[in-house]
Amino acid sequence: MSSASESMAKRKLLATIADEDSVTGLLLAGVGQISNEVGKESNFLTVIPGKTTVDQIEDAFDNFTTGRDDIAILLINQHLADLIRYKVDSYTNAFPAILEIPSKDHPYDPEKDSILKKVRRLFGE
C-alpha cells in the first residue's frame, strides 16, 4: 500500500499528445517539461498531419502511460485518441489518468465522450 502511495506521489506531471495549437496552448500554460534524462526527454508530442505517424502516437502513448513513472495525467486530443481507440479503450490503469481534450478543429462533442457513453450503456440506451 505504501509503495502505491509512493509511486502516486512521484506522479506530478501532465503529459500531452495533441496537435500544434493544442500543444502550444498547453505549453504556454506551463505543462511542458524538457530534460536530458534518457526516456524523459519531453512530456509532450506534437502531432503534425502528414508527418507524424500512428505508430509514433502509439509509442508516445505507451511511453507516457507505462514507460514513465512521473506522469499523473495524459491529455490527448479526442480526434487523435480516435486513431488509437483500441489502445485508449483497453487502457485500465488508474494512473496516469487519460483525458480526451478538444482541439481547435474538433471542439468538445458530448456524443464522443467516453464516460457519457458508459452511462448511456448502463441505462440501456
Partner: protein, 172 residues
Amino acid sequence: MTEIQSQLDKKTIELLILIDKYENVVNNNYRTNFINGFVNLSKANYEHTGRGFERRYGVDSLDLRPRLACLEVNEEFHLVDLQQKTKKEEKREQMESSLKNRKTKQTKSKSSGVEEFEEDKVKDPMLQFGGIVPYQLRQSQAFFKKAIENSLEVVKLQQEIDTLIQEIEKLR
C-alpha cells in the same frame, strides 16, 4: 432484496447528481476555456504574422532547452502553480535576509566554459516567445491555465462516475 434495491437506488441518485455536475463543468467552463484559448492564440498569431516576417507561435518557436514544468498535480489531484510558489518563497527569503547575511559571502561555483541551464528554476513559458508578445497571447495563456484546472476537475468526476458505474453493475 429490498436492501440491495435501496442501495441501488441510492447509488443511481448519486450517479445522476455526478452526471449533472459533470455535464455542467464540461459544457460550460471546460468547453469555453478551451475555445477562448484557441481563439486568442489564433488572434495572437494573426497579430504576430501580420507583418509578414515572423513565424506563428507554434512548434517551431518552442524553446527546447531543458526546463521544468510550471504546473504539477499534487496527491489530492489539485493543480500546483510552481511559478507562484517560487515567487512567494523568493519574496519570503528576501524579507528574511534583509540585514542578516550582509557579511557572509555567497559564492556560486561555476564550471568554466559550460553554459548552465537553470533547471531548478521555474520560468514563465511566455518568455520563450519573446519579451514583448501580443496581449492576446497572454489571454490565451490565462484561458489555457483555466482549461487545465477544469481538466483536473473533469478527470476527478470521470473517475468517481466510473467507480459508481462499476458498483451499480455489481449490485445488478
